[in-house]
Every structure is written in C-alpha cells, then in structure tokens.
C-alpha cells in the first residue's frame, strides 16, 4: 500500500489497461480509478485494482454521486463509495460540482449547476454530508459546460471557492474543462484559474476534447491539445506543483501513450520546481 499522492503526473486507470499496468509497471507517479467501476464484491476489475494499488498511490474519482442534485444524494451509492474507500484505501477521493438526478431519474452525465447562492448552499451541505459519511475530505471538480443557466449570478470560480469554504472540501481543477467551458460559453479561462483559492486545489486533470461545429465536447478521447498545455503551465505557475492526472476515456490508446502524456506533465512540473529552486 502506498502513501499520499505525489506532486507528479498520474494516469487514469481504465479496464483495458489493467493487465498492461500490472505487467509493465510504468513509472507513473500514481493512478486514479473511477470509483463506480470498483463497486463490485468480486471480479477481475477489483482484483486488478487491488494489485495495482500495491504498486501505485491511488486516487478514487467518482462520477455518479451528483452532489448538487436538489433531490438529494443517493444514500446507497454513498454507501458503496464508502465500501470502495474502505477496501482500496485511496489517498485522494474526488467527485464533481454537478447534479445528476431529478424526480427519481438519473441522467448519468455531469449536469451543470446554476451558479447561485442557493446552489452554493446545497452543494456545500451535501459535500459536507458526503465527507462525514465517507470519513474523508473530498476534492470537487469543475465540469465542462455546454450551456449556462440564465439564473447564474456568480462566476464559476467564486461558486467553487464558496462551496470549498463552506464545506471544507478541496478542489480538483480540470484544466481541459476550464478550456472547454471557456470556449463554449465565452468565459475567461485565465481569470477562472486566477480566481481559485490556490491552497485548496489538490489535484489537476488534463484530457483531450473534440469539436462539433462551434462546440467543444469534453470526450477525453484524444491527446491534450497545445492550448490546454499552455493553460496548464499557467495553472501550475499560479497554484504550484499539484498532482496532475492524464485522463483518456474514449478511443483509449496504448498505455505507453498515456505514459508519454504523463511524462510531459512531469516535465512541466519539473521545470516549475527548477524555477522555484
């Protein structure tokens, strides 16, 4: 079992790479797994994660709690997350600033919140309750957005900051999501990053996106684009060396490709340390 997540690059562990990771043991700093993929009692996926986590520090990243749902949080789902935490003992646990269900129907997507005081209060309360139930501090991630609520009166970064202050949670900055949302909704990506409380950002995500007409789609299906790498440079210059994850969820390439992306992030983190020395 490993200790804390280092301020280095890690990779998102996906089922297609389970065997390769165990066999090749690439020297990545840490791994992150989607919590919901490891809810089961048995099976090859949980066995693979148990083996992998012996070699790497582990972060568990949830996609299904919908902590901003006005209808509340599914207690059974929360219990399963708790069991996964207990079983795999991750060094970090994260979720999203989003909602996912209404009237009993789950949409299984990361739906955007209106950036209002009411949403701050609800998300902060439900993040706080989740932290109490899970016995750990959560990092909450900004999501990619394709629409904005007309009722929003807060900047997204102020919204996230307020949620973090009220609930005590940390933040997971997804730089690709900032880029996608900024292009789709006309936000200022640099201002977003500058507006976050640096001391609360415990992790960064990097991923690829695609374009559909004028809209950028956060599909995690390609390499990180140059503009996102530039934004990442800006982010770590402001936030310091933060554990950085390469995510790739569709059109998943060979493990070596993810590792190469991770090495690029590590190089930039190294440059930053060189500047600081």
């Amino acid at each position: 079992m490993h200790g804390p997540i280092p301020a280095a690059a890690g990779i998102g562990l996906r089922a297609v790479h389970h065997q390769a990771l165990i066999a090749e043991r690439p020297p990545v700093g840490w791994i992150e797994a989607h919590t919901e993929n490891y809810f089961h009692e048995g099976g090859s996926a949980v066995r693979a994660l148990e083996r992998a986590r012996a070699d790497y520090p582990l972060s568990l990243h949830g996609v299904g709690l919908g902590l901003g749902s006005a209808d509340g949080v599914d207690r059974e789902h929360l219990l399963r997350v708790r069991r996964a935490i207990s079983r795999f003992e991750p060094a970090l646990v994260s979720e999203h600033a989003c909602w996912g269900q209404a009237d009993g129907e789950f949409f299984n997507d990361l739906l955007p919140l209106p950036y209002t005081d009411e949403a701050v209060e609800l998300l902060a309360r439900q993040v706080g309750e989740a932290q109490d139930a899970l016995g750990t501090r959560l990092l909450i991630e900004n999501v990619s957005a394709y629409v904005a609520f007309e009722h929003s009166h807060l900047h997204e970064w102020d919204f996230l900051t307020a949620v973090a202050e009220l609930s005590g949670c940390g933040l997971l900055l997804d730089v690709n999501n900032v880029f996608v949302s900024s292009r789709n909704l006309g936000l200022d990506a640099h201002r977003f990053i500058e507006g976050l409380p640096a001391e609360r950002v415990g992790e960064i995500h990097l991923a690829g996106h695609s374009r559909n007409g004028n809209v950028l789609i956060d599909d995690h299906g390609s390499a990180v684009c140059e503009e996102v790498w530039q934004l990442y440079r800006h982010a770590i210059a402001r936030l310091g060396a933060v554990p950085t994850l390469i995510e790739w969820d569709t059109n998943i390439p060979a493990l070596s490709t993810l590792w190469a992306e991770a090495q690029r992030a590590d190089h930039l983190l190294g440059e930053l340390r060189g500047l600081a020395a």
Binding site: E36, N37, F39, H40, E41, G42, G43, S44, A45, V46, V63, G64, L65, G66, S69, A70, D71, D74, E76, H77, R80, W99, G100, Q101, A102, D103, G104, E105, F106, F107, N108, D109, L111, L113, P114, T116, E118, A119, L122, Y146, V147, A148, F149, E150, H151, N184, N212, V215, I217
Partner: protein, 244 residues
C-alpha cells in the same frame, strides 16, 4: 426566482422533451446533454449484452435501448446494473414474435454480467466427503460458488451465444431443441457451458439447497451417473462447503 429544484426539474424535462421550457443558453446545446445521457445509457447496456447487440446489429440495438430506457429509466448514478430489467423487457416487447429467443439470450448474458462480478469463495475438494459417514451422504447439502447461474431455455441459446462470439456469424437454426447449461466465474473469465439435462437438474436442485439424495432423485441419476455428477461439481471447483 425559480428554486434550484425547479431549475433542475426544468432541465430534466428539457432532456426528455426538446420543446420543454428551460432557462439556459445556448439552448440548442441542451442536445449535447440529451445525447450524452442516451449514449451513456446505451453504451452501458451494450457492454452487458455484446452478443445480443452483435446478433441484432447496432441500429436495432439502439432502438431497443431507447424503448427500454423509456420504460426503465436509470435509477442510479452507477450504470453497471442498468441491464437488470432488459431480459424481462424483451419478453414483453417481443411477445409472440419470431425473436422471443432474444429475451433468453439477454437472460444468459445478464447472468454472465452477474457472474463476472460475484465474489469467489475457495473451493473444497472431494476429500471433504470423507468427513461424513456413508449414511449421511444423501442428506448432504452443498454450498456452490456464488457466481453460478443455471439456465434452461426453449431455444438453442447456448449454441447461439457460442456461435456469435465473432461478427457476421451465420444464423443458428431456431428450430433446434432447447438447451440448458451454466454460467460461472473462473479466475480467467466467465465460463458459459451447455450441460446435459440430467446434470442441469441435479445442479439446479443442489443450488436450490436440496440435499444430495433429493438432487440425485430429481435428476434421475443412476449409480454410475451419480458418481460422475459428484465428481463433476468437485472437479469444476463449484463446491464451497458441504454440510450434513
């Protein structure tokens, strides 16, 4: 001003119905969420039923998934169990048609899904029987591996499943006799295996908790067949415990 609950309810309504009012902009981008939600559901369903999807083709599978979702929307943030009601849905949806066998194929594939994530217990060997007297044998009850699922179908569903492990497999003659068999997890994957009817009956009875004597009687096994059947459950590492 609308409450958060009202805003989310209107967003949800707009995901279900493009014409529903929703105070977001740009409004046309709601279709991205609508598509994501449908695709995530369909993809998760397709992963549970790969052989069925291959057999019917992507276009028809998409239609089935859409109709299934209308009747059985996701009730969880975890999509792994989204296929739980698919076989019963197909029974009803395909009722009376030429493709009712698809429901049995779905049932078999769902068992495979369940078996793949079931907890595995250490198996006991046949030597465990030496702990009991000959008089106790027929009262013995067997605990079998939690992943074990048993299937009987009026259709040649095991043959269909095996034949469709590759794309563009030729159709299997549906008029072939029905089949029975088992699905169980192994360390290297999930095994789907056709069984002789008497072995199936015997395993079904043991699995339901019947004592060995009753299982043998239900299956109509004679003495040599009994020895074989007993050997089978131990050789296949299906037995986790035996109790008198």
């Amino acid at each position: 001003m609308a409450s958060l609950r009202e805003l989310q309810a209107s967003f949800a309504a707009a995901l279900r119905d493009d014409s529903a009012a929703c105070a977001v902009s740009p409004r046309q981008n709601l279709s991205i969420y609508r598509n994501n939600s449908a695709i995530n559901f369909r993809t998760a369903l397709g992963l549970c039923f790969p052989v069925l999807r291959r057999r019917v083709g992507d276009d028809y599978f998409r239609q089935l998934a859409m109709k299934y979702r209308e009747r059985n929307p996701s009730r969880s943030g975890d999509l792994h169990w989204v296929g739980r009601g698919f076989a019963p849905f197909l029974v009803e949806h395909l009722q009376g048609g030429d493709y009712t066998w698809l429901a049995d194929l779905a049932r078999l594939e769902w068992s495979r899904e369940e078996a793949a994530v079931a907890v595995a217990h250490a198996a006991v060997g046949a030597e465990v029987l030496s702990h009991f007297t000959p008089e106790q044998l027929e009262d013995l009850r067997f605990s079998l591996q939690p992943s074990l699922r048993l299937h009987a179908s009026d259709f040649p569903v095991f043959t269909i499943w095996a034949a469709n492990q590759v794309d563009n497999a030729p159709p299997v003659d549906q008029s072939l006799p029905g089949e029975c068999g088992m699905v169980r997890a192994r360390t290297d994957g999930v095994e789907v295996r056709r069984l002789k009817p008497e072995v199936f009956s015997y395993l079904s009875a043991l699995s339901a908790g019947a004592p060995l004597g009753e299982a043998v009687s239900v299956a109509g096994l004679d003495q040599p067949a009994l020895v074989q059947a007993l050997g089978f459950v131990f050789q296949e590492a299906l037995v986790c415990a035996v109790a008198a």
